[in-house]
């Protein structure tokens, strides 16, 4: 065990200052120190994507990042994507299109999809399948997840056009 480091994390718009060992993984700081339990742990080896969050506008697997590496970063988790009164279109779409069953992969899936749609607002089915391939789901067989992401994309695009 080595000395703890002081780090600052901006999570879902709130600034947190905390102490963590250099070896502590970001997912553990989020879940255990900050009580942000939306991102889950499915493997701790970067394969499953259950721990996916956004860090400085990139999708990352927070089980494979040290908390210290995230010092000063802007972080968004599933908890920061929408509010109960104003859900993110992806949150609506996953429910509407039955894109989840046990829900364990869902926070990571939706968070990843949110970034995918930022980078590629109007993806084809193939692009969604490629862009989501880092997130595993054991329950749904993905078909409805893909449907939900495509539906959310068109929802977001329609809303944007209406606003212009």
């Amino acid at each position: 065990m080595s000395k703890k480091m002081q780090i600052t994390l901006n999570v879902n718009g709130t600034r947190h200052e905390l102490l963590a060992e250099p070896r502590t993984l970001l997912i553990h700081v989020l879940r255990e120190n900050l009580g942000i339990t939306g991102p889950h742990i499915g493997c701790e080896t970067s394969h499953c994507g259950a721990c996916t969050i956004l860090m400085n506008e990139r999708s990352i697997k927070s089980c494979t990042v040290f908390a210290a590496q995230a010092d000063g970063a802007e972080i968004t988790t599933i908890e920061g994507l929408g509010t109960p009164d104003s859900l993110h279109p992806l949150q609506e779409a996953f429910r509407e299109h039955h894109g989840l069953q046990c829900g364990f992969c869902t926070p990571g899936m939706i968070t990843r999809a949110a970034q995918l749609l930022k980078e590629n607002p109007d993806p084809t089915e193939e692009e969604v399948r490629f862009g989501m391939a880092g997130n595993l789901c054991r329950c749904t067989g993905y078909q409805n997840i893909v449907k939900a992401v495509l539906a959310a994309a068109s929802e977001i695009n329609t809303a944007k056009e209406a606003a212009q």
């Binding site: 065990m1 060992e21 070896r23 502590t24 553990h28 879940r31 255990e32 009580g35 942000i36 339990t37 939306g38 991102p39 889950h40 742990i41 499915g42 493997c43 701790e44 080896t45 394969h47 499953c48 259950a50 988790t77 599933i78 908890e79 929408g82 109960p84 859900l87 992806l90 949150q91 996953f94 429910r95 509407e96 039955h98 989840l100 069953q101 046990c102 829900g103 364990f104 992969c105 869902t106 926070p107 939706i110 969604v128 399948r129 490629f130 989501m132 391939a133 880092g134 997130n135 595993l136 789901c137 054991r138 329950c139 749904t140 067989g141 993905y142 078909q143 409805n144 997840i145 893909v146």
Partner: protein, 805 residues
């Protein structure tokens, strides 16, 4: 309330009852990151447990030195078998009537076996301490092959008396667990011996693992002041865990509360009782603090329950015209180091004797030998009813091979052997009574949907093109018609550790016309809170949106045997419907009183009771609920509640027709799924959206199993596939698009005719994928090639057939 009479369709739609594609009530919390899974639970003062595990598959444990670990700052305790022995907890009973070491007692029998349990302030310190426990091992010969085990002098289970019977009768070798037989052996041998055509084949269904996205874990919390133990955990059967915990610990059952919170998928992995649970409970009792244990992925794949590992040697006979005359199966079942299968007690090979499948086979015999090896224990039903996927794979491969032998089209061979619709209820040669089915209709619909004849023509043309050297890709058409057997089960022959496999539902109607229902089952993603409310809505006329469904807390839920083997809808779903009917019977009396007519003069109509012949005179269920609590009704107790425990009279027999069209590249061994058509008949359909989701998910697990997923061992008993790097889980990229379809043949004995569906796609999917691979190479002489059909194995099969020049 009596002012409006919206039309009946509107009223029905408003209920969102049976048949409605109701959106799920669970989703709001899951999509917002507000699920509550075991690892999300944080209690004051909570400690973390972690295991020291064996690196060897078979070794004597010479010594365990915990002193360095104990000296580490933050370590609270290190438990070994010696610490558990005075409590009688160093071994525990398995669900299969065997016993299993909780912590290594003198030797280890599989890689990853639990040797010591460290309890520390946080998970990092616990992991450090695990490294500091010094264990000295003395290696022993390793057996990973069940056939070798039955011929070896190496005794794996030295704790068992040589020659003494096991839980399922005589053992003929030290490494033998049981021989279980069903059917008429002599008659079967006679028919096969004199048949026109006989094929014999060894079909191996490899070892794999359910691998839910959430691993197994628990939080045990002993409240020493109140003497109450609470255990939160990933339990598919919370009441069974409570009873087992009481029997093991001696704590009275009323002082134990077991809670299954949200569960991140189960698929059979979370049925068993694992050493992690026992050690966490002991550690909490010892320290007086809550203790959390959550296994990591490698531990999950290496040590908690595997599935399959069945070597199935079959013989099937037929007339020259293709009428099947007999079926025989000799199975060698690799159970690993302890027999920890989660089968109903009387069925050590589960329901494998459903292996006559969808076919009218006059005589059959099955013999299953259970064998110990140096592999992890388990043998759970990974998204299937007990050993049913093994059975379905076996018969669907045997049929294909028989078709080759007969020179017959495999679809036609199935057709002429189906159990006909007029034969139901059908008594199978191996003792089952199939409740209902119409296989021919489903089969015709499926063949037509994919243009089967067109596909065969295209396939033949492709073979010709291949022979001419114009392509290196072949087409395979994978056919399957499966029959499942689910809904365990009738208490007269189904129990687990002596507990009958009924299930239960308790309903309370609130005065303002909403309700809560509690069940003995537990959802792991199936959406019970959504679908059970739908059953009730149709039964009692209260909208599903006004019915809360709760499961998983043994302090509040009625006793039930839990969720696995697709038993929730057949058993708890039936209990729900019947409890609803009790509510309705009482509501009828109240309605009659309020309407000032005789009980027999009112009838139920969607959401109300109406006076017969005068539908404008009615009382809604909300009116009735209010009166039940607020009005003195002569001869009727106040309140509106009911409870029902349902002991099913029979199993249910869902079935389906699946067709997979695959292209394989002979040179790379890659397989591309071009089309997958799945027709399911699960009887009455409660929520078509949820059913479709279950089918997609089950097919994807079948894809994984057939095409690459495997728990593989080397000769030293090392697990070669212990991470998600090596253990195949399909991503969005490999997973095809599925076309779903259905027919609807209700179960005659289930109160609403529902049969259950969650596992059908796995049972039918595996043979469909595997048959497609075989069918692609069939024109070149392939009869049988073992799963999983990863690129290498497909390439190798093509190579062995001489297709690489």
């Amino acid at each position: 309330m009596n002012d409006l009479t919206p039309d009946r369709d509107d009223r029905t739609a408003n209920l969102k009852g049976i048949g409605s594609a109701r959106r799920r009530v669970e989703d709001a919390r899951f999509t917002q990151g507000k699920g509550n899974y075991v690892d999300d639970i944080k209690l004051p003062g909570m400690l973390f447990g972690d295991f020291v595990r064996s690196p060897y598959a078979h070794a004597r444990v010479v010594s365990v030195d915990t002193s360095a670990a104990m000296a580490l700052d933050g370590v609270v305790a290190v438990l070994t078998a010696k610490d558990l022995e005075p409590l009688g907890l160093h071994w525990m009973p398995t669900l299969a009537g065997d016993k299993q070491m909780v912590l290594a007692d003198g030797k280890v029998l599989f890689q990853g076996q639990e040797v010591a349990y460290v309890v520390a302030r946080d998970r990092y310190v616990a992991a450090d301490a695990v490294e500091l426990v010094e264990v000295e091992y003395e290696e022993l010969p390793v057996i990973t092959d069940p056939f070798e085990a039955l011929n070896s002098d190496t005794v794996l289970r030295e704790d068992l008396q040589p020659g003494a019977d096991g839980a399922h009768g005589p053992r003929r070798h030290a490494n033998h667990i049981f021989l279980w037989e069903e059917g008429d052996k002599t008659a079967t041998e006679e028919v096969i011996g004199s048949a026109d055509v006989v094929v014999e084949e060894m079909i191996y269904y490899h070892r794999t693992h359910p691998c839910p996205l959430e691993t197994c874990g628990c939080v045990a919390s002993m409240d020493k002041v109140n003497g109450k133990l609470t255990v939160y955990g990933t339990f598919q059967a919370p009441h069974v865990v409570r009873t087992v915990a009481s029997l093991l610990s001696g704590i009275d059952e009323h002082n134990i509360r077991v809670v299954s919170p949200d569960i991140g998928g189960g698929f059979g992995n979370k049925v068993g009782v694992y050493p992690g649970y026992v050690c966490s409970i002991v550690a909490s009792i010892v320290t007086g603090l809550p203790v959390k244990w959550v296994e990591d992925r490698m531990e999950n794949l290496m040590a908690t329950a595997f599935a399959r590992d069945y070597w199935m040697k079959g013989r099937i006979s037929a007339t020259k015209e293709g009428k099947i005359t007999a079926l025989e199966a000799h199975v060698t079942a690799d159970h690993g180091a302890f027999d920890a299968c989660a089968d109903p007690t009387k069925f050590p090979a589960g329901f494998f004797h459903i292996c006559t499948g969808s076919y009218d086979i006059p005589v059959a015999y099955v013999g299953v030998d259970g064998v110990y090896t140096n592999k992890a224990p388990g043998g759970v039903a990974y998204r299937c009813s007990f050993r049913v996927t093994e059975a379905a794979y076996f018969i669907e491969r045997m049929i294909e091979i028989l078709a080759i032998e007969l020179g017959m089209d495999a679809a036609e061979l199935r057709r002429i052997n189906f159990i006909r619709a007029d034969q139901f209820p059908y008594h199978s040669a191996l003792g089952w009574e199939y409740d209902s089915g119409d296989y021919q209709t489903a089969w015709d619909k499926a063949l037509k949907a994919v243009d089967y004849d067109g596909l065969r023509t295209e396939q033949a043309a492709r073979v010709e093109a291949f022979r001419r050297g114009e392509t290196r890709r072949l087409i395979g058409i994978g056919l399957t018609h499966f029959t499942e057997i689910v809904g365990a089960g009738p208490v007269k022959n189904c129990d687990i550790l002596g507990m009958g496999m009924f299930d239960s539902c308790e309903i309370r109607i609130h005065p303002t016309g909403s309700a809560i229902a509690r069940l003995g089952t537990i959802s792991q993603g199936q959406g019970h809170a959504t679908t059970f409310a739908q059953i009730l809505a149709s039964e009692i006329g209260i909208p599903a949106d006004k019915i809360t469904v709760e499961e998983g807390d043994t302090d509040t839920a009625p006793y039930g045997l839990g969720t696995y083997g697709s038993r929730s809808t057949p058993v708890a779903g039936a209990a729900t419907a019947l409890a609803g009917r009790k509510i309705r019977a009482k509501a009828q009396m109240i309605a009659a009183y309020l309407l000032e007519v005789h009980d027999d003069d009112v009838e139920f109509d969607i959401d109300r009771f109406v006076v017969k012949g005068a539908p404008e005179r009615f009382k809604t269920m909300a009116d009735i609920a209010y009166a039940a609590y607020n009005q003195a009704i002569p001869g009727v107790e106040p309140g509106l509640e009911a409870v029902s425990y349902y002991d099913p009279p029979n199993m249910t027999y869902p079935f389906g027709a699946y067709i997979c069209v695959m292209e394989i590249d002979v040179d790379t061994g890659e397989a591309e799924i071009r089309q997958f058509y799945a027709l399911d008949d699960c009887g009455t359909r409660i929520n078509p959206m949820v059913i479709e989701g279950q089918v997609h998910g089950g097919l994807t697990e079948a894809l994984a199993i057939a095409m690459g997923q495997e728990i593989a061992y080397d000769d030293m008993g090392n697990v070669k596939t212990g991470t998600l790097m090596d253990f195949f889980i399909p991503t969005t990229w490999e997973t095809p698009h599925y076309t779903t379809d259905h027919t609807e043949t209700p179960s005659p004995h289930h109160p609403i005719g529902a049969k259950g569906v969650g596992e059908s796609p796995n049972v039918g999917g595996v043979p469909a994928f595997s048959n497609a691979v075989h069918d692609a190479l069939r024109p070149f002489g392939l009869r049988q090639s073992h799963m999983p059909h990863d690129h290498w194995r497909i390439w190798k099969a093509a190579h062995d057939l001489g297709l690489h020049g």
